[in-house]
């Protein structure tokens, strides 16, 4: 400067440059997230506060919490829907994680054609749920389904079971489909987790005379905690939102016996034309699932 003082230009340093590059590279993803996740979510929340009933287009209005009040306090089937959803989530998660763990343990051993068995184990995962549901509908068909044919051939039943209508069997049947479809995800994750457990831990356990069960309980399970955490969390969220399986298999019937929240949202919005009310049920489901996820993450995080 003219008076002789030195002005230090503020330079855009390397750190700031790298951060800017990072943000720029993130930008397309963020734009997509905003367009396809954030905006629809906010629109759905806004819709939940309105009385949008398509058969009364001139009566659209902001009714704020009335839809929520109606569902939570004036719906005689609330307990049924919530109970069904809890049953579906717990059954699906416990079943698929357990089966995935068993298969991962089995296929982690050295054996011939292990690679082929592992590939076969992933088949349910790659099959679209719509296709899987249709296939299982035929398997469970009361008159021509292979399930009844096999059971009758083995002498285990004398009369065909009406799998997708009989209240004794309908829940086990649809949970079988969910577990069959969901176990490969757990299997793949847990198999990867098993493969990084140090072998010397097992050798040390063997030397100390630990039984297989104690080895599993005190070495394998604790070492799989990070994977189990992720699997349980994701499976819970996915199953809470599951629509296709239930809709294809039973449409929530008979008489809402298998109706969970996600298909209820669809039915309310697209079959009954009550868009605002349906949106409020969806928002409630979102709040519950997010809260459960937050509680779970908080309680388990410190142990991982």
């Amino acid at each position: 400067m003219a008076d002789g003082s030195v002005v230090h230009k503020k330079r855009f340093g390397r750190h700031e440059q790298e951060a800017l590059i990072g943000y720029l590279l993130l930008l397309p993803g963020l734009v997509g997230l905003a367009m396809f996740v954030v905006y629809p979510m906010l629109s759905g929340i806004a819709l939940s506060f309105q009385s949008k009933y398509l058969l009364e287009p001139d009566k659209d209005a902001w009714i704020w919490f009335e839809n929520f009040r109606k569902f939570l306090f004036a719906n005689p089937k609330l307990g049924l829907y919530v109970g069904n959803t809890v049953l579906w989530v717990i059954g699906s998660v416990v079943g698929s994680v357990s089966l995935g763990l068993v298969l991962a343990l089995l296929l982690n051993r050295e054996m011939r054609f292990r690679g082929i068995y592992r590939a076969f184990a992933l088949i349910p995962w790659v099959m679209p749920m719509v296709v899987a549901a249709i296939v299982w509908q035929w398997i469970f068909n009361a008159n021509w389904g292979i399930a009844n044919h096999v059971l009758r051939s083995l002498g285990l039943i004398s009369k065909n079971i009406v799998w997708l209508a009989d209240r004794t069997f309908i829940w086990p049947a649809i949970l079988v489909v969910s577990v069959w479809k969901g176990y490969p995800f757990s299997f793949a994750f847990l198999l990867a987790g098993l493969q990084v457990i140090p072998k010397d831990l097992y050798e040390a356990a063997t030397i100390d005379g630990a039984s297989r069960w104690r080895t599993f309980r005190h070495i394998t399970l604790p070492m799989l905690r990070p994977q189990l955490f992720v699997i349980v969390l994701l499976s819970t969220v996915w199953n809470a939102n599951e629509f296709t399986a239930i809709w294809m298999l039973t449409k929530g019937g008979p008489a809402d016996y298998t109706m969970t929240i996600a298909p209820l949202v669809y039915q309310t919005s697209f079959q009954f034309y009550r868009m605002g009310y349906g949106a409020s049920i969806a928002v409630l489901l979102m709040i519950v699932v997010m809260s459960l996820a937050a509680v779970y993450i908080r309680s388990v995080r410190s142990e991982i």
Binding site: I21, L55, E56, V162, F270, F272, Y273
Partner: protein, 468 residues
């Protein structure tokens, strides 16, 4: 190969993105200049109209229906002089509403869509339906008069005026299809008149059903559990499943008691059946009396042609109860409506006019023609052109019997309630409980009455009570 520095990479990425953005925002491509035509040619060949594409949403309810829709769409596309191109989309029945809504929400409405039963009236209430009087008023006279009955699914009333909203492709009746050969074998009745007479009442029907019922090989009554109740109630004097007229309460409950008897003779899994399961069961020869409609011929004939003959099949009305003296055949129309949100209504109207012509109307398989003056032989002969393996002489019995039933018995509108799905859900859930023996007809009535009356928009009732 030279390495690409980070700066260079970012520069190239930014330039590419900029170029792409400019290209997307640029003006539409300039159309190629019209070819110069000699003066003589100009007079003889007028310039072709600009191509207009219209969207035609069809519910793929069956293979034969889809074939009919594709055939006439292709015919129109190849012969219409106005350069209109119809883009047909086949969508599952249960998903067509979602598709319609998506088109409208996207601001690019379709032109024509399929409807059946009360769904056109529902779309009218949503503000999606364009009245056809102005576009097709001159062809009204070719259709059966019942199409324009104020209670029909094709007519709505607004500000004291009636509007025609749906152009049909079929006219269907609902009754019972019976295994004539099994009835003859088990009851000794081999004469159609005797069978029709015996099965015309609740009591006679149950007697024959008991005679042919032979579980688990053969069930007297087919499902699904929601098919029988609608028409049973109509056949005991009610005007719809939402008819809770005080003076007809006993008739309603009486109808449900009859339905309960029918459930007893249905396959145990029929409680969850849909139409296709019903069709499959009849085609497999495991049920004897199936509540069905005029469309059923096309459902069964591809799989089990031996069950669709005059010897093995008889068309019956749904039996009537003690509250009325004669049988009721419920009738309905399926058709196409014009979307009021479309901006190509003129083009859509031209296509609809094409579909209204006798060639198209009379070759819709499975159902009766909605046109006046078309008898069985004429319809069968025309159907044979498009479906030579299915129709012809062999099908005449079917159309003869249906036409006779509809001429002889009272006709009433089926599926006339709005909102149809929600009312059906309330009603059918109780039918499931009735099927499972968890409730009684009286409890069903008392349970559904307040629920249905609370949501009624259009609910035909004996007492004429109207809903908002």
């Amino acid at each position: 190969m030279a390495e690409l520095s980070r700066r260079r990479f970012l520069q190239l990425s930014a330039m590419s993105a900029g170029v792409a953005a400019l290209a997307a925002c640029g003006p539409a491509a300039t159309p190629a200049p019209a070819k110069e035509v000699a003066p003589a040619e100009k007079e003889a060949a007028p310039a072709p109209a600009a191509r207009t594409e219209i969207v035609f949403l069809c519910a793929g309810t069956s293979e034969v229906e889809s074939k009919h829709q594709r055939h006439w769409t292709d015919e129109f596309n190849s012969t219409n002089p106005d350069n209109i191109f119809v883009k047909i989309e086949l969508i599952g029945w249960s998903d067509i509403f979602t598709k319609e809504r998506a088109y409208i929400a996207a601001g690019d409405a379709y032109e024509l869509a399929w409807y059946c039963g009360a769904t056109a009236k529902e779309k009218w209430l949503m503000g999606w339906v364009e009245p056809l009087d102005e576009y097709l008023g001159d062809v009204k006279g070719t259709f059966k008069d019942s199409l324009f009955d104020p209670k029909s699914p094709n007519v709505v009333e607004k500000d004291g005026q009636e509007h025609w909203i749906g152009m049909p492709f079929c006219h269907y009746g609902i009754g019972v299809i019976g295994r004539r050969d099994v009835i003859a074998e088990k009851t000794g009745m081999d004469d159609n008149a005797a069978i029709l007479d015996k099965l015309s009442t609740y009591a006679g029907f149950l007697e024959v059903a008991e005679a042919i019922h032979d579980p688990e090989d053969f069930y007297a009554i087919s499902g699904p559990s929601n098919h029988w109740p609608f028409d049973t109630l109509l056949n005991n004097g009610l005007h719809s499943t939402a008819d809770f007229s005080d003076d007809w309460r006993d008739a309603y409950i009486e109808g449900l008691e009859f339905v309960q008897e029918l459930f007893r003779m249905s396959p145990p899994d029929a409680v969850t059946w849909t139409h296709r399961d019903d069709v499959a069961a009849y085609s497999n020869g495991t049920v004897g009396l199936n509540r069905q409609g005029t469309y059923f011929y096309g459902d069964v004939i591809p799989r089990s042609p031996h069950l669709m003959t005059a010897e093995t099949c008889i068309v019956l009305p749904v039996p009537h109860g003690p509250a009325i003296d004669g049988n009721v055949i419920s009738i309905g129309y399926c058709g196409y409506y014009m979307c009021s949100k479309s901006n190509k209504k003129e083009a859509a109207a031209k296509f609809m006019r094409f579909l209204a012509q006798p060639d198209a109307q009379n070759t819709f398989p499975m159902n009766l023609s909605p046109l006046k003056g078309v008898d069985s032989r004429q319809q069968v002969a025309e159907l044979e052109k498009l479906f030579p393996d299915m129709y012809g002489e062999r099908a005449i019995f079917w159309f003869d019997q249906w036409n006779a039933a509809m001429d002889k018995h009272t006709n009433w509108w089926s599926e006339a309630t709005v909102p149809s799905e929600e009312i059906n859900k309330i009603f059918n859930d109780e039918m499931v409980r009735l099927f499972n023996g968890e409730t009684t007809p009286t409890e069903v009535y008392d349970t559904i009455k307040p629920q249905i009356e609370a949501i009624c928009k259009i609910c035909p009732r004996r007492d004429g009570k109207q809903f908002e």
